[in-house]
Amino acid sequence: MKPELRELYQQIILDHNRAPRNFKQVDGANRVAQGHNPLCGDKLQVYLRVSDDDVIDDIGFQGSGCAISKASASLMTEALKGRSIEQAEDLFEKFHRMVTGNASEPNGQKLGKLAAFAGVKQFPARVKCASLPWHTVRAAIENVASPVSTE
């Protein structure tokens, strides 16, 4: 594979696309949101069970879409499980800045496995695929009713 493509379709992304983690609905979910990218057809639902002291006890997602969006959702749920709402919102900001090329640390240092998406900024048409799950989870946290998109 060409180096540029390898930047985008890293092994971890291919792996999470093939076998997405937390690909499930969540028992007792108290925050739910839908995300949809009409331009390419990525669709997902995000489910959260948030405790009384604002900790994400469980998180899952369902839906269909491209490899980037599916892997992003999968890695996102791994990154957010057990975190506080505040930490989740902070991670959203950092992730979004990284994929849109606005980060102070362009290679996603401090983002752990999420750094796998650092290559997305070279593929502007795919940025929305990577950020859709994050927009959706933020909508779930804020209990926004209608489906969100990245438009």
Partner: protein, 423 residues
């Protein structure tokens, strides 16, 4: 599947595809020699827009360098010259479409603009509550939304001719759907998502029997098949310049003279008037009535050059060449394990839409892009078609007269490699 013999070709007598010199044609298109991502450009997104021959590029450059002026106004040399260029282009467009009179050809921005013009100027004043507008299941959004808008406004119904799994219109259903309340039929000549060639001449005849006018969306047809609006006997025909090797921002609307004359103007302003006073204004005759403001003169000049370019190509052998290319693409792309073709009508042109098992269309597009290959992935402005097949998106390779079998082979190799990556 096998595609039907090329429309309008006598295969015994006509020039064979071996007389079609694609390498010479390719040299006419400067962009085809460029590289993308370090690889030779393989441009297979012609249904989205076509590339431009040097003759078109040069015509536009020449116009701006030596001939630019506003039209229909001045008495000075450049203005009269530009006006002549504009009206000569209109006459050439008339011949290209097979219309009877040049005044039946309106210069518009493109097919979308043309359809909106007809929706606003023809249908809106006539449509009443309970009336119907009949479109097909395979239409581009531009041949759906304008009708939805006017139906919603007037309390009318949009009815849809169904299609088969192969992507062919169910013509019995069409006949049944043509009712007393149908005020217009709007149908695509060639589907951009599926490549289906619809029997628009037959459909126009059926509509005429019921006294129902028909609009044909010819955006995908103009680059591939000869158009003769009198032979089709349609009431409106729309094309986009940029899909037929001309500039963007220019298109043609053909309308029968008596219909155009009966229509209310779409946009008001300069050039579409006869007299203007604050107490009231009178309108210009057709087609000027629909050409408000300074038009895209350079676009018209470029479109004229594109029509001349197409007219100079041996159309019969071009059609035969494209038919062979399409059949080859269907065979080799369809032959890849895990690939499913979408749109398998027996009469097809220029488009191969497909799904790759286990790989979302978007990922297919990104991967082949790295090999310099331009295909389109998504819903192709035809979300109802995607819904029909139960998919979010397809990958689409669409061809023009400058594409080659080698290019299709390059795509196939890239698709096989993509399957390897995703396992």
């Amino acid at each position: 599947m096998k595609v039907a013999p090329a429309v309008g070709t006598d295969r015994r007598a006509a020039g064979s595809s071996t007389s079609f010199d694609v390498e010479r044609i390719r040299r006419d298109f400067p962009i085809l020699s460029r590289k993308v991502n370090g690889k030779q450009l393989v441009y297979l997104d012609n249904a989205a827009t076509a590339q431009k021959p040097e003759a078109v590029i040069e015509a536009v450059r020449q116009y701006y360098a030596h001939e630019n002026s506003n039209i229909h106004r001045g008495v000075h040399f450049l203005s009269e010259h530009a006006t002549a260029l504009y009206e000569q282009a209109r006459e050439r467009a008339r011949a290209f479409l097979g219309a009877a009179e040049a005044r039946e050809v309106v210069f518009v921005r493109g097919t979308t603009d043309a359809i909106n013009l007809v929706s606003h100027g023809y249908l809106r004043p006539r449509l009443e509550q309970g009336d119907e507008v009949l479109i097909s299941a395979m239409e581009h959004h531009s041949n759906i939304v304008p009708w939805q808008m006017v139906c919603e406004e007037r309390g009318a119904q949009l009815r849809v001719i169904p299609m088969t799994e192969a992507g062919e219109l169910i013509l019995d259903a069409y006949e049944e759907l043509l009712s007393q309340r149908t005020k217009l039929v709007a149908v695509g000549h060639i589907s951009n998502a599926l490549g289906t060639v619809n029997p628009v001449k037959w459909m126009a005849a059926k509509a005429r029997e019921r006294g129902v006018p028909i609009l044909v969306d010819g955006a995908q047809a103009a680059p591939h098949v000869p158009i003769d609006v009198r032979d089709l006997d349609c009431d409106f025909y729309a094309v986009s310049g940029h899909k037929m090797f001309g500039p963007t921002g220019i298109g043609l609307l053909y309308g029968r003279a008596e219909l155009l004359e009966s229509m209310t103007p779409y946009q008001g302003g300069g050039d579409m008037i006869r007299t203007v006073a604050f107490e009231g204004s009178t309108y210009a005759p057709i087609p000027s009535k629909f050409e408000a403001g300074t038009p895209n003169i350079a676009g018209v000049v470029g479109l004229h050059a594109a029509i001349e370019y197409l007219d100079a190509v041996d159309r019969v052998s071009m059609v035969e060449y494209e038919r062979e290319l399409l059949q080859y693409a269907i065979d080799v792309i369809g032959g890849i394990e895990g690939v499913r073709l979408i749109g398998t009508a027996s009469d097809k042109a220029a488009v191969v839409s497909f799904l790759v098992d286990g790989i979302h269309a978007h990922d297919v597009g990104t991967i082949v892009d790295q090999e310099g290959i331009a295909i389109r992935t998504g819903h192709h402005c035809a979300q109802p078609v995607m819904d029909f097949y139960g998919v979010a998106a397809t990958a689409r390779a669409s061809f023009a007269l400058y594409n080659t079998k080698e290019e299709i082979d390059t795509l196939v190799a890239a698709l096989r490699a993509a399957r390897g990556v995703f396992g």
